[in-house]
């Protein structure tokens, strides 16, 4: 598990604080998995994979700390260290109605999943994407190109799509669903918990992506172990199904910091 040197092949500005960096490397990843990205002398952190076409993989990155600030200064041709892919992935199934619920940057792995499943027979996708305001909505243009996919945008302030929460749309779709949908979600934990609660209420299959503090990414440090199961979210997650999510006591309640202290949501 040594960092592999990867070169930046393309950089896309998604919005003022979000960029997608493409690295030329055949990562062999699946939607929902993550890599540990390392910039020597700065830091190394986990990033969800937002695309992988076998030649380049993409990471959609929000500028928020020393590592991402440094990354934002890099140019095409610059290099970084990558380990992974790590973790579990979303189910890729034919003949299924997917309902995707994305909050903020959660749109990244779900758009990756959409590009994989839209090639399969009988797949239809309702893609609910929510953000605080219009300028923070991610990937609308990219999603519009995907066949059999319908976008439902929501914003907190009503500046785009419908004013309200992603779960308002989800509940309507679940209520009116004719075939058994598979709900997949990625976003803030409290949003994911609300999605899980709705899936329990309507007895719908569901897959969540759980974010926890990770040091190694491969099941050794134990930093991302969840109560009371003790499972590491880098190995048995980040993507978990409804049955497992319901057994993760701390979901929506607390997570842990780098020291291991509980931080309440």
């Amino acid at each position: 598990m040594l960092p592999k040197t990867v070169k930046i092949s393309k950089i896309i500005d998604e919005n003022p604080s979000v960029k997608t960096f493409y690295f030329s490397h055949n990562l062999k990843s699946k939607p929902g998995q993550f890599v540990m990205l390392w910039l020597p002398d700065i830091d190394q952190k986990p990033f969800s994979i937002s695309s992988d076409d076998g030649e380049n993989f993409g990471l959609t990155v929000f500028k928020r700390g020393p590592l991402t600030e440094k990354l934002f200064t890099l140019k095409v041709g610059d290099r970084a260290g990558s380990t992974g892919p790590f973790g579990t992935c979303y189910s890729i199934l034919p003949n299924r109605h997917y309902i995707m619920v994305a909050g903020g940057y959660g749109a990244a792995p779900l758009s990756f999943l959409s590009t994989k499943i839209c090639e399969l027979p009988g797949v239809t996708i309702d893609f609910i994407v929510g953000a605080r305001s219009k300028d923070l909505l991610l990937f609308e243009d990219r999603l519009k190109l995907i066949p059999h996919l319908k976008i439902h945008a929501t914003t907190d302030d009503g500046s785009a799509g419908r004013k309200g929460r992603v779960t308002d749309v989800l509940e309507e779709l679940l209520k009116n669903a004719t075939s058994k949908p598979l709900v997949v979600t990625c976003g803030p934990e409290l949003m994911e918990k609300a999605v899980l609660d709705l899936c329990n209420k309507y007895d719908s299959d569901c897959e969540l992506s759980i974010e926890r503090q990770m040091k190694c990414g491969f099941g050794i440090c134990g930093q991302c172990a969840v109560d009371d199961l003790g499972l590491c979210m880098c190995i048995d997650g980040p993507v978990v199904n409804r049955a497992l999510a319901n057994r993760i006591f701390e979901l929506g309640k607390y997570h842990r910091d780098k020291a291991g202290n509980k931080i309440n949501y």
Partner: protein, 303 residues
């Protein structure tokens, strides 16, 4: 066949989760018992919370594992509920690993941690990765070992185990000093100092630059240390370092270990490594017609 008594406590098998691996939370520790170890050791606990070093904190190859986590932990006050959580989930023995920057502080952490239902204290005086903060590890000095052992012993209500460093060339002397000062057992060994360089970026891979080597490369070093210590002291030894298979564990016991610490094996053989190692030990014992581990403990010593 594998039941082992260590300082009057019975372990269902001699494999204990070593400190630092998968030991941040009580639930994680209990999950490792489900995966087959006979007992567990917490990640080292200090007086105050510590976030640890920046990433990368660990890396591995087929031959060795290298880490410098920087003793991250939530501090003794927050560790107590985790130990209580472990007890609510598991009946296996638990060793609380502690560390501190001074002898007095070691005593303070020991006193605090004894308020929780632990079976043993392991005194980590041998972490090789916090030199910038704490100076040379205490495990290189008989004087420091005596002072820390005495104070921890006086503040503890459970048996204490001193964890030694393979960086000390005369580790058997260190073990003798611990025994003379009142230690109930020895853990040998911690990781040995190492460094790896990423040749593309021309930088050490770990953010801390140097780290501690574990994994298969540590096994012969650890075996030599345990072998030498067994010949020098009467107190029992937890043999730790590079054990990834049942054969490795048997070798550790033949060198003189009572319990066998397993950590990095989780990298090589996943968290189910504990059950795998235990099964391989049982299989070897059956083939060789060995009835109990006591029969082969220290068997590699000729005199």
């Amino acid at each position: 066949m594998l039941h082992t008594t260590f300082l009057n406590k019975t372990f269902s098998n001699p494999i204990v989760l070593a400190s630092g691996i998968l030991g941040v939370t009580g639930a994680s520790l209990a999950h490792m018992v489900e995966n087959g170890c006979g007992g567990v050791t917490t990640k080292s606990i200090s007086l105050e919370p510590r976030p640890g070093h920046k990433n990368p904190t660990m890396m591995g190859t087929d031959d060795y594992f290298l880490n410098a986590v920087g003793l991250s932990n939530p501090g003794v006050a927050n560790a107590l509920p985790e130990i209580a959580k472990f007890h609510s989930l598991s009946t296996a023995p638990i060793i609380a690993s502690i560390f501190a920057g001074t002898a007095d502080e070691f005593g303070e952490v020991a006193e605090h941690i004894c308020a929780s239902p632990i079976d043993f204290i392991e005194v980590n005086i041998s972490c090789p990765n916090v030199g910038k903060e704490f100076g040379t590890p205490f495990a290189y000095s008989t004087t420091a070992i005596e002072a820390i052992t005495k104070i921890v012993k006086s503040k503890s209500t459970v048996p204490i185990i001193i964890k030694l460093s393979p960086n000390a060339w005369n580790i058997a002397e260190m073990a003798k000093a611990a025994e003379a000062a009142g230690a109930d057992a020895i853990t040998a060994v911690n990781t040995i100092s190492g460094l790896m360089i990423d040749i593309e970026s021309r930088r050490p891979i770990l953010a801390n630059k140097q780290g501690g080597v574990s994994g298969p490369a540590l096994l012969p070093i650890a075996l030599k240390c345990v072998y030498d210590i067994y010949a020098s002291v009467k107190i029992p030894i937890i043999g730790t370092g590079g054990v990834t298979t049942g054969r490795d564990a048997i070798a550790m016991i033949m060198a003189g270990a009572t319990l066998v610490g397993v950590g990095s094996a989780a990298y090589y053989r996943e968290k189910t490594c504990f059950a795998k190692i235990v099964a391989e030990m049982a299989e070897f014992m059956q083939t060789e017609n060995i009835k109990s581990l006591a029969e082969i403990r220290g068997a590699a010593h000729t005199n």
